[in-house]
Symmetry: D2
Subunit: 343 residues, 4 copies
């Protein structure tokens, strides 16, 4: 099959290139750019020497329409304009930005940008693979989930959907490596001010809040507003989410554990661990795994639900490829069956 | 005055050496060791070349009794045996370990070690400077607070004491740099497994949980059990604590802010900031400051209370020196009036 | 084919597991241990959950003899005792330690340990793939090169062999990430003392010095002693070597560049770049590539020859698999054709 | 005395603020800006809360002329225009940029910018404190040395000046933390591309090359061109320089060591260590020390001369204050007598 990426320079795009290189069903991969047409990609990114030495293509609808799948890994506000004209023109579309994840009003409120056309939004399907397979399979346009929502939803949905926890006042404290902020230099991501510094940012303002709330509602029940905090950790990759909620009346820890085991027992990329007192982002580094742990505190009857992902893989490019595999009928592990780097 | 440190090789000890070097009232500083007697300290720690080139002393009660102040920066279970015989023998005692912070039963439950003698425990005073000045001034033995409890208590006490938040189900999500784990190598602190890795550890099991609960009770009201998580962040110094609670009925954000401003307006080392959407550990790096921010979310009426400290300074050696200053009638800023490193 | 690893817990071993997982010709992989027999490997290393959930095997010669290839990734002084009895018993042996790289006398001088039996040493072949293919193909026992020597020799051999530089007083300044020090915790690799710290260590004493000198001699000419420095860089993976030498009389920069291009033009894993003013270890991160650059300074007529590798891949497990591929007649890229992580 | 800083936002400027805060002779410190007039500095840099809460001043010559000392910590090309009109107008001028370090022609060749007026250049004095005290004391304008040249010159001058090494083909391999690149975000200093990455850059092109060569000549003898490499290390602070040269004929290691000991025995900030096999940047972190080691290799008769500094202190703000102390007759340690952070 023939694949294309718009926004290859973004970290989601670079990660798509890395993972698709090992995908046995992808025979060609074209890279598109709005600004760097003709540039040899490996001159810009030396790690791609001898791997991608061909020039970047300009964004051309006919060219794009000739492909089987097109990924967009662009800043918010770009694919909302690019993709509508490609819907139904041939390629399956998988958008890694936030442009097709929220309804018009919520998008404009949280992203402070013009939303995608309503028609296009209606055709987009939320790409949380493990929870939305039927719809993703048929979708013309997949809105690939955000990195934080992926870690949070995979870890909370079993408990919330089965009403095993009281989700009326969910507290979610999430932490991310710096690559989540993208490839554009800024003071926030300037090495000397980011290294040896842990910071909390966008408290109660993060644009992933409505995406998480919508996801909890979509796959379970009407959701009360959540409290969601995000931190910037001095490392490149990785997200760790810790969520806090009381166990529902009469529910036991055993029931909770069983629920997670059953929900994810056949999933290739969600690993639930019922033991261990430590969970780290390095156990999923470079891989498509989401690892989940539960900790019930008998002193408070509250449960701490923790998950880790690699924000660039399960939180972006990996999940996008998993969705592609699903859409094209490949084994979902194709191209993604890698061992985490750990060190 | 004459000062001494038992446990100089520990990171708390090294930081005491660093800060006492700039203390105008300290004329001599003797270092004591149980294992390295006679060793030139700067041969072990090259950064002290030309600064501490004298041999380490063996632990000798007469020598210790001749000093004005003795700091113990030892692993748990050491000062509980060493200090009782020094109480009332001359020097003020300031213990940086956890040995004198908890009642006998709680200590043995959470530390899994034998507690200090009850007599000695009774004479120890909890050294949270800003909240316990009267007692600290007179104390023969100060139990210097733990790093996490310092960050948590300073940030929560104004709201809890004044009943501005509902403290019945406090969620506290704290994160620490690796120096908090001390100077003893282990797999947990091995560079290759700690770098580029954020991990959660000791969930619901951390020995600082009873210290925080006791602190909340001692300075405010009977406290319900808290939920407290700790994370290991790939950086050396710094703690960030994020605490979550509903505003109490009828309380406004303005009231909450005013309460913090009033509580800390004359404090030299607590900086409350009522604006800004970012708080990072680098703004207190190497200093004795504790910086605090509040964020009320009108969607949930829950408040996020965030604080940052340098775990080795305000969370250990700095607060110990602040307590010494208080005890000896010096300006509390003496030796501690330094600008954070930031970069 | 059936593969086995002795010393799976070492970082070389973990990296072999990671890379062999993606190797299409390896159908089984047994892990052997001297101390952890019966332990489920993924209980120790959570990143291997669902990947290696089987117990570790004890070291059993019959079991080992039944395999096609056995890798040893053990501390120095271990495989020298283990492997001699396996030579010629069936499996190809590839040793990632330093035990079979040096003659008896040099080994004992630099490693301060007893050398392997002379008979076994005689049968070992130095596994610098690109320079020793004929011998490696036939070898019963491959002494896989050290990480530093791999980076240094690949970058220097074309110039030295062709006498394009004056190699009589080679200065080599090399820098490594911390994973090169292995998985055993120590003060040197304790996060708090390694982070935010660049140090030089073992000046003129590093055990890779004789290996480099021997490699230069073996593949080119009688070599004068080199000056070789090693630094510990606060990062996990990566080696950068900078070597300095005068151009030989009458040689031009163009000749030098042509020599490197020709030498490596058909190599799958050595990428020579004749332009660019920056070379970083992240361009080979997680991959088997060795990237090389040359910089002639017309002011001095000296050339700076720089190379980068991932010490755990090209400097250890990757090169070992490349050697296995060569021995078994597979395409050398099998299992190793991955894109570097870069970010 | 009254001090002022132009370019307070730069890392040199922030470090001046940090160190001058602890300087007993400085009674006022005014901060000047070309772009942020009126801004409360602590609103931009939260670590200065309660420390510098006053507005930034616009650059006003009368205001500047009323001060006792003015530091310029500005990008190259700025102070060359600002300072000439202030020379002789009252304040001592200490420039932390490169604008007054080189002769006109060399400056324009290496900096690719217009040089300062020749008249002004003539009045500037190179501020390598330990080697130029007489001139610095009287100077109207001090050209404070660059960070790399400070580390290199302090470590090489004793040997070069006394002809103990053959300086005809000096190889200097230097490595720096990222703060040396300043506070302006760029791809080179973007966390995700700098973290876990060691890179070599500007090979043979660094603008500190002529400054080092000039320094070697100025304080010793006519110098042959050097080979000088610079690396970017994933840490914030610190420079380590390793220099390589043959011992001169007939010179012994003992002579070399004696020379260094004698040269620096009375220096407060240069610490020569004749033993130890490890030297790291953390032993000078945050301090004004330059630590030096020598390693003679009897196999090659070449010596490796290593030094470490904190690039922002001894390599910038600290040395500037040391020069100010010298000019005003204060003890050179005033404001600089701090213990390195180490951890």
């Amino acid at each position: 099959m023939k694949a294309g990426i718009i926004g290859a320079s973004g970290y989601g795009g670079l990660e798509l290139i890395r993972l698709l290189h090992g995908h046995s069903e992808v025979e060609s991969l074209d890279l598109f750019t709005s600004s760097d047409e003709g540039i040899i990609f490996s001159h810009k990114y030396a790690h791609l020497m001898n791997i991608h030495d061909t020039p970047l293509h300009r964004i051309d609808l006919d060219h794009l329409a000739s492909l089987d799948v097109v990924f967009t890994s662009t800043p918010s506000g770009v694919s909302s304009k690019l993709l509508p004209s490609l819907i139904g023109k041939g390629p399956r579309l998988i958008d890694l930005s936030g442009d097709f994840r929220l309804p018009e009003k919520e998008y404009e409120q949280w992203y402070k940008k013009e939303a995608a056309p309503v028609d296009a939004l209606k055709q987009s399907v939320y790409g949380l693979t493990e929870w939305n397979r039927a719809q993703i399979k048929e979708a013309a346009l997949v809105a690939n989930p955000g990195c934080y929502p992926t870690a949070v939803l995979l870890s909370l949905l079993p408990a919330v959907k089965n009403k095993l926890i009281d989700a009326s006042s969910l507290i979610i404290d999430a932490k991310s490596g710096v690559s989540g902020a993208g490839n554009k230099p800024s003071q926030l991501t300037h090495f000397s001010e980011t290294n040896e510094n842990l910071s909390i940012y966008k408290v109660n303002q993060h644009q992933h809040i409505p995406e998480i709330e919508q996801g909890l509602e979509f796959f379970s029940i009407k959701q009360q507003p959540i409290t969601f905090s995000t931190h910037l950790v001095p490392m490149t990759r990785g997200i760790l989410s810790a969520a806090y909620a009381p166990l529902s009346e009469g529910v036991t820890e055993k029931q909770l554990i069983e629920c997670y085991k059953e929900t994810y027992q056949d999933e290739p990329f969600v690993r639930f661990s019922s033991h261990g007192d430590k969970l780290g982002t390095n156990q999923v580094y470079g891989s498509n795994y989401c690892d989940i742990q539960l900790h019930l505190d008998p002193r408070t009857n509250r449960v701490t639900i923790v998950s880790v992902i690699d924000n660039l893989v399960k939180g972006a490019a990996g999940q996008a490829i998993q969705n592609m595999n699903l859409q094209f009928g490949f084994n979902e592990k194709t191209g993604l069956d890698v061992v985490p780097l750990f060190i």
